[in-house]
């Protein structure tokens, strides 16, 4: 049987509530086996054998906070999951572990990749939210290309104007260009014609 916890945004740990109160409170109630976040009353899905442990209804920053909290919590606890991955991917991972020493196990490899991807998703979401609040903080492609050059100690890092000019040229033809595309173009432009 589920433990029912009362939850408000400002709270992390709630108190048990009677079922009638749960029904009345609806979305403000969380249901979970641990004192974690969830935002509304749900029923287990009949199509899935894994007990639902989260619900939708969080806003972006609540989701970010919850993901960060989970990423920083004890990773020693493990769970079996019914998550399905392509068989070929599973087999490739097994070979990578066994023959290439990519990780100590396929589980470790999968967990590390998942963690890195989650961290990236969190950072992207936080930056997107920040830029929604402060549109003037949005970097241009030129800004990103300069930043990429600086982080790597690229020879063009000391020539930001050249990089920005290259960004304008690349963006005019390729609106989805990446900072690295700009650096490549700027580098190519810097090579004197023979």
């Amino acid at each position: 049987m589920w433990q029912v916890l009362w939850f408000e945004r400002s709270q992390r740990i709630g108190a048990e509530l009677p079922a009638k109160e749960v029904k009345r409170l609806g979305r403000k109630v969380m249901i979970t086996m641990v004192p974690a976040l969830a935002l509304k009353l749900i029923k287990p899905l009949t199509k899935c054998t894994t007990q639902a442990w989260y619900t939708s209804g969080m806003d972006v920053l609540q989701a970010v906070d919850r993901i960060n909290e989970l990423l920083e919590s004890d990773m020693g606890q493990t769970s079996n999951t019914s998550m399905r991955i392509p068989t070929a991917l599973r087999d490739a991972a097994a070979i990578a572990v066994r023959e290439l020493g990519a990780a100590s196990s396929t589980t470790a490899l999968t967990a590390a990749a998942l963690k890195a991807r989650l961290e990236a998703a969190v950072m992207q979401a936080v930056l997107d939210d920040h830029i929604r609040q402060y549109p003037q903080a949005r970097p241009s492609l030129g800004d990103l290309a300069v930043a990429a050059a600086e982080l790597d100690g690229h020879p063009l890092a000391g020539e930001p104007e050249r990089v920005r000019q290259a960004a304008l040229e690349v963006e005019a033809r390729h609106p989805d260009a990446e900072p690295e595309d700009v650096l490549l173009w700027a580098e190519a432009r810097a090579i004197p014609a023979s």
């Binding site: 991807r117 950072m123 992207q124 790597d152 890092a157």
Partner: protein
């Protein structure tokens, strides 16, 4: 190839304040890091805890929520790092926070290190022989 990016006080200030003249500059660095992480590249952004002290970055204060959410990891000044930092501070005559950055640079196993700073000369001094990319904000 792992890449460690270290923020110093000026970078923290610029990132935390949307009105700071270098805010977009440091946001650009973080955006590039996020893009690289999403492509599976092993890159992390960190802040030495003494830099946090200098910058006034208290993780429990709502004012710092934006930076807290960006998964910028603390690097604590533990006993080992304190010994290295003490030596660097004596030799280079820099602040405690800069000496801590030097200790981080000396102790890291990352193959590439970048420091985003307002004082490149001090960072080059504390980095000593270690190759470090220094980004000036």
């Amino acid at each position: 190839m792992s890449h460690l990016i270290v923020l110093d006080n000026e970078a923290v200030q610029a990132l935390s304040d949307p009105a700071h003249k270098k805010h977009v500059h440091v946001v650009s660095h973080v955006r590039v890091v996020a893009d690289r992480k999403s492509r599976g590249l092993p890159v992390t952004v960190s802040v030495p805890t003494t830099v946090r002290v200098e910058a006034g970055w208290d993780r429990t204060m709502p004012a710092w929520a934006f930076l807290n959410r960006l998964r910028i990891a603390d690097i604590a000044l533990d006993g080992l790092n304190a010994n290295i930092a003490a030596s660097i501070r004596q030799d280079a005559r820099v602040s405690v926070a800069d000496a801590h950055i030097g200790a981080v640079i000396a102790a890291t196993t990352a193959t590439k290190v970048t420091v985003i700073t307002g004082d490149p000369a001090d960072i080059r001094r504390v980095a000593a022989e270690r190759e470090v990319h220094v980004v000036t904000v």
